[in-house]
Symmetry: C2
Subunit: 696 residues, 2 copies
């Protein structure tokens, strides 16, 4: 049994802080439970000693309850929470739901009080939701443990969409929007301060919950990246779409988030990468989240493939939908020759293309719409067929024979999805949904829902593999200088040129002669980060004399511009020409651990943010996918007639870097290899900086 | 009086092809007019000789009508249209609306028949809507001249949004969606084949129509770019928001459009540029178009400025909205110190930031919501204040005192806009709308509507100035070669290096000595377009000997790789080093005339499509705006510590190129200056290609 089962499906509940006033928080909670006709035992607790609250026998303390209690919901003011918790634990509850606020969200003092609650629960083996949670709703078992006033106006419809959210207000908003549009819900839970149970663990539960078909989630932060990854992967393995919102995307948003939660919003691009690798989709709005959830619950799955066939009663709307298909990376293959023949036989005036514009002619063909639909289902290799039918659904009586025919087609072509875009009366919509056909009014929203679902399906072909063992690592040291960093990376298997820090002009020229001219000379100092800015790099030195002279020039410049820097000498390396500059990096994210960064091509990183991230460890295949996300990777592939560069060498370097990052994740803060120069044969790190965590 | 006045506001109408069957096209048209209670005279015409149709006296021909007829609506089958038109003209109608399809949209034969109708109308000075039009709706005068079945289910609500659309189906879709959500409409017109009246002219009419406050439009193509520009500018001058959709954006969409309309979709980026320059916004979906129209009709204007203040009952939703503000280039300035003090006095537990999270505390403060709103209106310099209020609107009774207070605030702060985001019952929404406050359920849609309106307002600070006179031009010739093109551009005032085509090695070395070393030598041949590919360019020739040798090498390479090319000699130019490469171009668009293109920075044009377009003629200010749209323009501004390049020289070159393009628009097809090398002082065209229209 999942450890959150008693949270979502308690057999009995004590409401600690229940009130007789059905509009006060503790009363509202009880009232909603009663109105919902929850079948389990409900025990109102109020230390006032009332013998009856809202018609139920009441108790002064949880310990007074005669029978077994699965869950205690605590709504007493903050000072009373600890003792209520203690009594509940003593009574033997399996879990507590703390709705009371006034803990970690208020500052240090609140955090300390909260930590005490956690410690009590941990010791007793009791799970805790909250504090500062808005509670939960199990629509299936009618267990409504929340005081959200949204229940005054809106009763949930039972269905298969579940929602796990940190913010209760966010949950109320999504709940309200879903309910107003008639979407059916299974479970909704607000985790609040997440002192124990977090959104990740709720996703884990919902992944195995048989009533939940689609999981929606909303995060403001994440405490345990591995737990979130594992939960998302479990949901993906269960074939359940996961739609997860994470606010704080843009600079303005992140600024707002930091005032709001008092914590840094985390690296947003890392969340993006992790969601994608774990097969979850990140909607940009609540409405989009609900659109996709609706789409997938009605079709019952993610789209079978990326290929889309469109039937339309309007050329213009057909083109609009094709525009979106282009944006969404969907394909719109042409009809097969048989399909063209079939379409022309049916609608001689129409152009048998995709989109297939039925023209006004379709109205004069018996069963025209369903027969055109059949042509598309039968002859195109379309996983999904969209039909734009204007306002056909507004006349349910006239449209009902078409629906009957579409129902037959659904059975005949079970591997393909059908979607209707039209204005539709409730009656038509409901019948179509019952046979697995989603109905949208706006063509754009329909396309976007399908595009998102198709993207999720594609991502799930390449899921992240969680590392199964920790890599053995030695302690990193002496990485503060360029040559130290490069040495460590060389040991880790990355391609680094022969180089040496020389302390005299003579030894510099000797080493240069040994490795062959031309060479590069750079000032070597842990105190000088930006060497080029002080003229600390000399390129293309052609002979021993130039190296000797260069040695003196560099020392003089260092003396002039950084008189207090500790100078280790001059670094001599071979001068490498040609090739494509790329950037490789590691960022050890506090939540998600080591992330590997790739970028390519000079100004493109800064100007166009043309970089991408992937979770370590990388496999050669995931390294290649990482490279695919970067547009400038095209520069490696024979750009403007130049010979192709050695992509395999980049893949190899990325994998070695990933292994290095995994082995030293505890010590590392970041690695920057800039550039890794990629040549026709091989690649080489020309510069590298390694930063360790300050505690090391 | 606007020449379309009789189209939109006829006093009397003949329905040619009226039928007694209210479900057939000609009957439906009449039925809708009767049901709408149109006040003008209606004359059903049917050559069957029926004396009465749907209760009205009927006539066999328009000529039989006793009185004056403003408009004839023709719905007879195609063969009868010409004679119906002739009779209508003879009767003295001011305009005809041809709903019959089967003309230019079917091919050449249909086009010829359509051209005859146009000729008849032109000769008689009669305006024509259609053919293949779905008609029009004037909600104000109850003139419903359409057979769209969408009117079976949905009656329009009167309001101030008007819609001009080429595609009738698109119009029906937008009409249906608008009406289902309760938006009020003024006029809707479908222009169909646009044989005479087009969408541009309808926009021109709506710009001066007093009932229309917001203009929506949908184009599939545009015949007269100048007319469209003029109409959009007129609407902007009238302060009316214009929301124009143009399908065929993406490759898939354009492919779909070409099968659908049988015409090229036109250069989509040109439409983008023109819409922006003329102060119109291009929504990506019908729903977005309606959201913005709703926003602007309720607030009665475009946003006063870009600054946004947010009040929220949920931290998470506040961050979500701030995320969108970031995407939409809105600003969210902090509250003033007075504002912070006022907010803290009101809500001691809240962080007085922007977004201002009211927390649950607001419920315990009397008039908490409206008083917080007042703080934002009074103390922030926010043109617009958003309030996220969860589901407050679902309890109209409890919320009504807040609405009363907000109404007072609206009067007190007339220069600022207020927008509510919440779930809301119809009753609350209607009251808020009546006091100028739009209400949205989805926070994202609300933000996007505001962002679009703010963008439109900003664009209207820099509107395109239509050219008032034609530039005097001389005929272009000899532009087929690089040196010919550069010579012409030099004459037009663009910076071009001294250069000369030399026919002997001796003259080449002499010219090189004269202009100074180093030089570049290029093979000069109208038949060799891609010189570098055959090794036809030699850089950095240092002395006379190198030039002489180079001359022979180039001739030999040309002989080898292009034995049949006509070789004019070798072009000698100074070798220029350093500087930032930019691209300048002209594309003479068949619809919109000469467009000026700017791009910068090597691979960025191809890899990131980092180019922008602007309509000629450019002013220095519009040239600078064009440059602002290109991210790589940053490379001109002291990138990575390099000295800033001469932006003014680029502005000047753009303006000269624009003048050249205006003067030769009739002859030119395109100009490509690639690169214009921009140095610290000045800029210079290093290569140029001019293409003329094939007819020249």
């Amino acid at each position: 049994m999942h450890s959150l089962q008693p949270v979502f499906v308690p057999q009995s509940v004590a409401i600690v802080g229940a009130s007789s006033d059905p509009d006060r928080i503790g009363g509202r909670l009880l009232r909603f439970l009663l109105e919902a006709k929850y079948k389990g035992a409900i025990y109102p607790i109020n230390k006032s000693g009332a013998v009856e609250i809202q018609g139920l026998p009441a108790f002064a303390s949880v310990s007074d309850i005669p029978g077994q209690v699965d869950q205690a919901v605590i709504v007493v003011p903050p000072p009373g929470v600890a003792s209520a918790l203690m009594e509940s634990i003593a009574k033997g509850v399996k879990c507590v739901v703390v709705l009371t606020s006034g803990f970690a969200e208020l500052g240090e003092e609140g955090r300390a009080a909260q930590d005490k609650l956690v410690a009590m629960c941990r010791e007793a083996g009791v799970r805790m939701l909250g504090p500062n949670s808005l509670g939960l709703l199990n629509v299936d078992t009618r267990y409504f443990a929340t005081f959200s006033t949204v229940l005054y106006g809106l009763q949930p419809r039972s269905g298969s969409i579940s929602l796990a959210t940190q913010s209760g207000a966010f949950g109320s908003c999504a709940y309200g929007m879903a309910t107003l549009r008639g979407l059916g819900l299974s479970k909704i839970i607000a985790t609040g301060n997440e002192a124990d149970i977090d959104v990740a663990e709720c996703i884990d539960y919902l992944a195995e919950d048989p009533q939940t078909k689609v999981i929606c989630a909303a995060l403001e932060s994440c405490r345990d990246g591995q737990r979130l990854r594992a939960a998302l992967l479990k949901a993906a393995a269960a074939g359940k779409p996961v739609l997860v919102m994470k606010v704080g995307r843009t600079e303005l948003g992140a600024a707002a988030a930091s005032t709001h939660t008092g914590s840094l919003a985390g690296n947003d691009a890392v969340f993006d990468a992790v969601f994608q690798e774990c097969g979850a989709y990140r909607p940009e709005s609540i409405e989009e989240m609900l659109d996709i959830a609706y789409y997938c619950t009605v079709t019952g799955r993610l789209p079978p493939n990326n290929a889309l066939g469109i039937i339309t009663g309007s050329g213009g709307i057909g083109v609009l939908m094709a525009d979106h298909a282009g944006d969404l990376n969907l394909t719109m293959p042409a009809l097969s020759p048989d399909g063209v023949a079939a379409a022309q036989a049916l609608l001689p005036f129409a152009v048998a293309a995709n989109p297939l514009d039925m023209t006004a002619q379709v109205t004069s063909v018996p069963d025209g719409i369903s027969r055109t639909t059949e042509v598309m289902l039968k002859h195109g290799n379309y996983g999904t067929v969209f039909a734009y039918l204007a306002h056909a659904g507004l006349a349910p009586d006239r449209f009902s024979s078409t629906i009957d025919r579409l129902a037959e087609l659904r059975l005949q072509y079970p591997d393909k999805d059908l979607v209707m875009v039209m204005l539709s009366a409730h009656q038509s919509t409901e019948k179509l949904e019952a046979i697995g056909i989603p109905v949208f009014a706006d063509p754009t929203r329909a396309m976007k829902a399908m595009g998102a679902a198709a993207k999720m399906a594609a991502q799930r072909n390449h899921l992240y593999a969680m590392p199964t063992h920790k890599l053995v690592s030695t302690r990193l040291s002496d990485v503060g200088s360029e040559q130290g960093a490069k040495h460590v990376l060389k040991m880790a298997g990355l391609p680094v040129l022969s180089e040496q820090v020389c302390t005299t002009a003579e030894s510099a020229s000797q080493f240069a002669t040994q490795i062959g001219f031309p060479v590069v000379a750079k000032i070597a100092s842990p105190d000088i980060q930006h060497k080029t800015e002080i003229g600390g790099v000399l390129l293309n030195l052609q002979d021993a004399a130039a190296v000797k002279a260069g040695f003196e020039i560099l020392l003089a410049r260092a003396q002039q511009h950084a008189p207090h820097a500790h100078i280790e000498g001059v670094l001599i390396t071979p001068m490498v020409k040609g090739g494509v500059e790329t950037i490789l990096g590691v960022q050890v994210d506090p939540t998600f651990g080591p992330m590997i960064l790739f970028g390519a091509g000079g100004t493109s990183v800064e100007l166009f943010k043309d970089v991408a991230l992937a979770s370590a460890p990388l496999t050669p295949a995931s390294a290649r996918r990482l490279m695919e996300k970067v547009k400038s990777t095209a520069l490696l592939r024979g750009w403007r007639g130049s010979p192709p560069a050695d992509e395999a060498a980049v893949v190899n370097a990325l994998c070695q870097l990933s292994e290095f990052a995994m082995a030293h994740a505890d010590q590392l803060q970041s690695v920057d290899i800039n550039p890794l120069l990629v040549q026709q044969n091989g690649a080489v790190c020309l510069d590298a900086v390694i930063s360790l965590k300050t505690s090391h």
